[in-house]
């Protein structure tokens, strides 16, 4: 069937902010879908609340709304735009839920909007557990015994009926399994089910038999309207059942399954997608008992998912693109396979000639207090993928891609238990066996490393299998890694003595040069960086190069080389000696275009999100537009940057010096762009610069494009930057550096409390705290990791200062100031966690001019070429420069959408040699206020204090814009998915010196009809201003009612809680905020935030919001 001509305009929904369980994969799928629809001539209306995505860039869709993804807003946009159809399967659970709601309430029918892709019936059958189970039973598919419950009574009855523990609790209609878990007793059952019922959109949880320890696997299925169905990819989780698939380390294709096993599951998956009548992509999860061969269908996602993004990248088969085509009527066999081009169709099952490993990226390196246990709800923020010709290679490459601690596995020591005082000493004693057993048994982020450690200690595969229930096939592979490490150590050779055969064998198992050097040295406690010249990574690399051993590059072509593929999508491997005829680039002489490499930003993590992928995609586009060859290196399977047709050539590789260097050599690249891939890329600048002479000897004539290494160093090195600041007359907070506890204490004394303390060169303010007294200093130092090469920075903390973010681009001559953003929160809250406004709302013109002047002075003075970001603080009439980041920033996409200035593109153009004067720069827009607001993962991460502070905690952001700041703020707030209170009680607790300033806020709340609750002291102040207030005791008073009582009783719908001092967890506030998170009660932790929130409430009560096209002001 050809495309449908009766549809003219199609609305596509995005998935909103990046959050745990819903990350960049929907930017990728949405972007692919929009592109697929537009090339077929449809007009596309895209709605997403996330300003950081590529998909809602003005050029991506015909009409864009950056508005809250809630049914009311979508309904209103439909009224305005009158689309013919709605494609909801590209925006994750968020979009699917909206579509489901609008279909059920009759809105779609009333507005004449057809739901394309999977229809409502299919969605309902897949999403409603009871309906789903009925479908499975009707076609004879085994499901685990499960009972849908809508109340706690039903839950208890269901547990009785199942009769054996543990019991699995799974909420219906949530994302990332939020609120699910495994209960081993009645207490846990009640606790988990309570949360589950609350989090489920239809207040339903499923009580199931436990199939813990079974293997878990996934099938990605495509089906078209003519009932053609194919399996795109099979995936096997290393972690057995009990760990959410998004939290599992996953391998594609299946490894430990026979063809007979696979065909049974394949048949079941196809039967299911047909019975559900799904049109497009869908994902079926199975449990498999490897001892009996029994299977259970776990669930189906009737839409593209994180797994389908992984499947797309693992196979090269563009699932989202084809799902969009199917939605408008095409059948698979009439669509060409975009990978292999003419001669093959999309009615095809990809076959791989490599092994793919995905490892999730967890935020536990930042959130050291959070519970690391992995279970049925997600905690990871992102993931990495790596490809190899064997499992070991793919796994070790994935490990290197994680950028979490060391780039290869190392023997575990007591230093791995926790950071802080005595780490260096603890690194000398190995992790106790008893702890190792626990680390193997309980799934956490440490588990894979623990498995390898177990085999280092010569534990048997059987023993580890007993402990973990992990399939032996994987354990043999981990054992092989440990044995290979030992073999390397036992050579007792120096790198220069290694033979070609040895190196080749180890490299083909994925051992990096650093890993080999480390193993040769017997894994010294001081770490691989402590190795001396001649023994270190570089020595191994030199030996390798002298033996002519370089990786070969293989193509990801979906067909195991059966057909000549067009996709320039590669991975490295070490196999043959000569370049005989495999996946070569066009001959160098034919590559007349200049080759420029852009380094991506790796996995989505807190502090380095999708914004950097946005920058990379724009850099690549700019390079291509300039007629040059754009080469991209990245390892994140969720992103647009790793889509097969984003760049001229894509390398799916770890972003380490070794892998990047080899790609540079292979490409004979002329330039490299490091300023778009966040801290990951910029951190490569100095090491790569040092290695350039070596690479030059291999014939590489590379220039680092854009800002020079020296300038990067000058901006990042504290002492150099202070000198620079002094030279050009910038004011900075007083600061000092310490490499030992004594140093740090002296620095604190010299500066005086409160101080802002943080490790140098960090991402997202990891380990950054405000310390107000000696006690807190001691506590901080006991946990901090201090070493001569890892100093701590101590700064004067500027109280009550307004923080400003500036994004700018400079070319050496001119500076373009993109936007001056004012933060709602005071300086001290991490800029990534702040709510910020374009244009600045409360800054006098004269100050704005000074900011602009200083921005220009910094850009010219540091000889920035490309983009940079500056954080300023304004205290009274003093302007402080806090820091300069000589790279693309988190706010670049926000600035682009708010002002119409494509900052990333402009900066990329500068980087590749097109100065500002030669670029067409759009006029910056005005007349509207744009707000960016953070979205936090508190609900997912227990044990984490839900208060913004100097360490970044948010995972994503949303956007709101309107002519009035209050309305813009309200839109952004609604988009955060935390409710905006409209009635009920407000609980207020603030610092003593804020109590007077609280008065107008309290007055407003009373005017809006709120009951005001406050601690006795605050009540006194409020009452003295004739504001009625009810006393609620402080929790520490052990008197009732306290705040927690009021919250549990549902009397509180809004909380203002300004922590006395941020930093070390203040127990009262922490407990209250924690409970607020669990009960989904909005709270603010600053007075300015409170004022803004109250203003928003007023707007919300005034009437419905009117959505606006993004480009209305361009």
């Amino acid at each position: 069937m050809p495309r449908r001509d009766d549809l003219k305009t199609i609305m596509v929904l995005g998935s909103g902010p990046i959050k745990i369980g819903q990350a960049a994969e929907f930017d990728f799928s949405g972007s692919q879908a929009v592109q697929a629809l537009r090339e077929d001539g449809y007009e596309v209306i895209l709605v997403n609340s996330n300003p950081a995505t590529i998909q809602n860039d003005p050029e991506m869709a015909d009409i864009i709304y950056i508005e809250p993804l809630i049914p009311d807003t979508i309904r209103r946009i439909m009224e305005i735009e009158q689309p013919c159809a709605l494609l909801a399967g590209m925006g994750g659970q968020t979009a699917l839920n909206i579509a489901s709601e609008l279909a059920h309430d009759g809105s779609l029918e009333r507005l004449g909007v057809e739901l394309i892709g999977s229809d409502l019936d299919a969605i309902d059958k897949a999403e409603d557990r009871e309906l789903f189970n009925q479908v499975c039973e009707s076609i004879g598919l085994p499901i685990s015994e499960a009972i849908a419950c809508n109340s706690m009574d039903q839950v208890l009855a269901a547990a009785d009926e199942i009769g054996s523990w543990p019991i699995l609790i799974r909420p219906a209609f949530t994302l990332g399994g939020l609120g699910g878990g495994t209960a081993w007793d009645l207490g846990q059952l009640v606790e988990i089910a309570t949360l589950g019922l609350r989090n489920s959109r239809i207040s339903q949880v499923l009580i199931e038999e436990s199939i813990l320890g079974w293997q878990e696997l996934e099938y990605e299925v495509m089906r078209d309207g003519a009932d053609n169905a194919t399996i795109v990819c099979t995936m096997e989780n290393i972690d057995p059942m009990g760990v959410h698939t998004g939290e599992s380390t996953v391998v594609a294709p299946l490894q430990s399954f026979s063809d007979a096993d696979h065909q049974i599951l394949r048949d079941q998956a196809l039967r299911l997608i047909r019975a559900l009548n799904i049109k497009g992509g869908c994902n079926v999860q199975f449990a498999f008992n490897q001892f009996t061969g029994e299977t259970r269908v776990i669930e189906v996602n009737p839409r593209v998912s994180r797994s389908s993004a992984l499947a797309s990248k693992a196979t090269g088969y563009p699932i989202a693109r084809l799902a969009a085509k199917i939605a408008v009527g095409y059948t698979l066999d009439e669509l060409p396979n975009p990978i292999t081009g003419d001669g093959t169709t999309a009615a095809f099952e990809p076959t791989l000639d490599y092994c793919v490993v995905k490892i999730p990226r967890w935020p536990f390196d930042k959130f050291r207090t959070a519970d690391r246990t992995l279970g049925t709800s997600m905690k990871s923020t992102g993931e990495v993928m790596a490809i190899g010709r064997n499992f070991e290679e793919a796994f070790l490459k994935a490990w290197a891609s994680l950028e979490q601690g060391c780039a290869h596995p190392r023997p575990l020591t007591r230093a791995d238990e926790s950071e802080g005082d005595g780490m260096a000493e603890r690194a000398l004693s190995e992790l106790p066996d008893s702890t190792l057993v626990e680390w193997c048994r309980v799934a956490t982020d440490r588990r894979m490393g623990a498995l390898i450690e177990a085999f280092r200690r010569s534990w048997s595969v059987e023993k580890v299998h007993e402990i973990t229930r992990i399939t032996r096939w994987f354990l043999y592979r981990f054992e092989n890694i440990a044995q290979t490490e030992r073999a390397i150590t036992n050579t007792h050779a120096t790198p220069a003595e290694l033979t070609r055969e040895q190196l080749k064998a180890w490299k083909s198992l994925g051992f990096s040069d650093a890993h080999i050097a480390d193993a040769l040295a017997g894994f010294p406690a001081a770490g691989p960086k402590s190795l001396q010249p001649g023994f270190n990574e570089e020595a191994v690399m030199k030996r390798r190069h002298s033996l002519g051993l370089h990786p070969r590059y293989r193509m990801v072509d979906s067909c195991a080389a059966e057909f000549a593929a067009k996709t320039p999508y590669y991975y490295s491997t070490y196999e043959i000696d000569d370049d005989v005829g495999v996946d070569l680039l066009p001959n160098l002489e034919e590559r007349t275009k200049e080759r420029l490499v852009t380094v991506g930003s790796g996995p989505i993590r807190i502090g380095q999100g999708i914004e950097f992928d946005y920058g990379c995609v724009h850099a690549v586009k700019a390079i291509r537009a300039a007629g040059k060859d754009a080469v991209l290196i990245n390892n994140n399977p969720e992103t647009v940057s790793t889509d097969f047709d984003t760049s001229d050539r894509l390398y799916f590789e770890p972003l380490t010096l070794e892998y990047v260097s080899e790609v540079l050599l292979r490409e004979q690249a002329q330039g490299i762009l490091l300023q778009f891939g966040g801290q990951t890329a910029i951190n490569l600048a100095l090491p790569l610069n040092e290695r350039l002479p070596l690479l030059k000897s291999k014939g590489l004539d590379l220039s680092m494009m854009g800002t020079s290494c020296d300038a990067i160093d000058e901006a990042s090195d504290r002492e150099r930057f202070e000198a620079f600041a002094k030279r050009i007359g910038l004011k900075m907070p007083r600061g000092a550096t310490g490499t030992s506890s004594d140093d740090v204490r002296a620095a604190v004394e010299q500066i005086g409390f409160p101080v802002l303390i943080r490790p140098s060169y960090v991402l997202g303010g990891r380990g950054m705290e405000i310390l107000a007294n000696q006690q807190q200093v001691d506590a901080y130092l006991s946990e901090a990791y201090l070493a001569p090469d890892k100093p701590l920075l101590v700064d004067e903390y500027l109280g009550h200062a307004t923080e400003i973010d500036v994004d700018a681009a400079a070319d050496g001559e001119d500076v373009l100031v993109g936007a001056i953003m004012e933060h709602l929160e005071e300086a001290g809250i991490h800029s990534g966690d702040s709510t910020c406004f374009i244009p600045a709302q409360n800054i006098p013109e004269s100050m704005l001019n000074r900011i602009e002047e200083q921005t220009k002075a910094i850009g010219i003075g540091l000889k920035i070429k490309g983009c940079y970001n500056i954080q300023f603080a304004i205290q009274g009439d003093k302007l402080y420069t806090l820091e300069v980041n000589p790279r693309s920033s988190r706010t670049v996409p926000f600035v682009a959408k708010a002002t119409g200035l494509p900052m990333a593109r402009i900066a990329a153009n500068i980087t590749i040699g097109i100065p500002l004067s030669q670029q067409t720069i759009p006029q910056r827009t005005s007349g509207q206020v744009c707000v960016k607001a953070p979205v936090f993962p508190f609900i997912k991460l227990r044990g984490l204090d839900p208060a913004p502070g100097p360490e970044m905690k948010s995972t994503g952001e949303v956007y709101g814009s309107d002519v009035s700041a209050d309305v813009a703020y309200l839109k952004a707030r609604i988009a955060t998915e935390v409710p905006v209170a409209s009635e009920g009680g407000a609980y207020l607790t603030v610092r003593n010196d804020d109590k007077e300033n609280l008065v107008p806020i309290a007055q407003n709340l009373v005017d809006l009809g709120f009951t005001v609750y406050a601690t006795p002291g605050t009540c006194d102040v409020l009452r003295s201003h004739n504001i009625p207030a009810t006393v609620a005791y402080r929790i520490a008073d052990k008197n009732h009612p306290d705040a927690l009582d009021l919250m549990r009783e549902g009397k509180v719908s809004f909380i203002v809680n300004v922590p006395t001092v941020s930093g070390g967890a203040v127990r009262d506030g922490n407990m209250m905020r924690r409970l607020a998170v669990e009960l989904n009660i909005p709270f603010v932790t600053t007075l300015r935030g409170a004022s803004m929130e109250v203003a928003a409430m007023k707007v919300a009560l005034a009437g419905p919001l009117e959505p606006r096209r993004l480009t209305v002001h361009y």
């Binding site: 026979s258 065909q263 066999d333 092994c355 096939w473 067909c559 080389a561 059966e562 996946d583």
Partner: protein, 444 residues
Amino acid sequence: MGVRFRPKLMSEVSFSSGSFCPGSNRRGVSNPPSFFDAADALANGEEIPLGAQGSGVLLTADGGRYTGTLFGAKTHGEGELVFTTGMMGYQESLTDPSFAGQVLTFTYPLIGNYGIHKGASESAAVWPRGVVVRHAMSQPDHRFSIGTVDELLRSHGVPGIENIDTRSITKRVRELGTVLCVFGPVEDEAMLNARLKVLVSPDLEDLVDEVSISDPVVLNPGALDDLDRPLPRLGALDCGIKYNILRNLCEHFEVVWCPPETQFSMLSEQYEIDALFCSNGPGDPAHPGKATAARDTLAAAVRAGMPVMGICLGHQLMGLASGLQTYKMRYGHRGANQPVVDLVTGTVAITSQNHGFAVADPEAGMLAAHPSGASSPLGENLHGAEVRVRYINANDRTVEGLDIVDHPSFTVQFHPEACPGPHDAAPLFGRFRSIVDEHLGGGF
């Protein structure tokens, strides 16, 4: 070492009393014969000869040279170098008689992950004359595993070579077409080179003779349906038949498993068959040996108006019997992901395939042909009925199946019995049974 590979003949395979017993589980069948499964040697704990080890070299007729590590039997490998893209099902492929005469390369790099399973073979032997893999996995893990790929090869005298860049081989074969190759120990390289120079295409051998049985046998004598009525009787011409075809046929018919040269008159008169089936098999369908004998039997059956089904080689033989040409394909279709369009229903099935020859399309001709241009001579229609192309490959549009117009007969190039591969086409066996029932007058 240094021993040349000698093709095995079906007649030499220890054959009866094994774990393959397709007639069991059928109503009305007592004491059905059983046959050897290639994995039985491992299952029975028979002693396995020591294997090859050390560096090996693989040479291709067009000048390619690959170094690797030897495994499997201590003998040279030689034959036509082909590749299969299936990611699983290596045991089924290794024991598929259609690979006789060939050196089989697996594109999936990890072969042997789940071991060798009892009763999961497709014949009594391992048929390729050499096996090329990236990694021969030596630590399999599966509840059914009874041994490794290495052990299976050793027990059947088939050599293997690993640590080979199989993608490079695949690309070479894709670009140049299938080529002849030899492999063995590095120190034998001169000898291997000399052998390669005189090696001739296995297509010239009567491969069908090598892989087929020599005496007819009824697999499920007295088989009854659920209502205790006798099943229709089917003659299954064995050109190298896969066990799972026999299993499938036994579900629907009382099956007479016959040698390829069995005359139609004998089948109809002595065995009183109601329908005829012709199996898959190795080599050139136009080979004048037993393939041609089977072709003539097929033609006679169509002439007689008897229902006929053919798979793979059986389909190609039907093409020849219908006056169509067959030709050698550039590199054939071998794998578990070949999309086939049914031109009648317009739907696509993902199919299992393993063939290097094809039937020329009456209109489009010889698509995806081998550079050698090898094809059968123009022939006559031996049965007189019109044929129509029913299935085509969605990728290269080659012929994937024929309907004999106004006759209860059809043939397919792909493998509805799967093993390895998807079951999308499995209903074809049931379809054939319905055709037979209809032909016999609505059942009996």
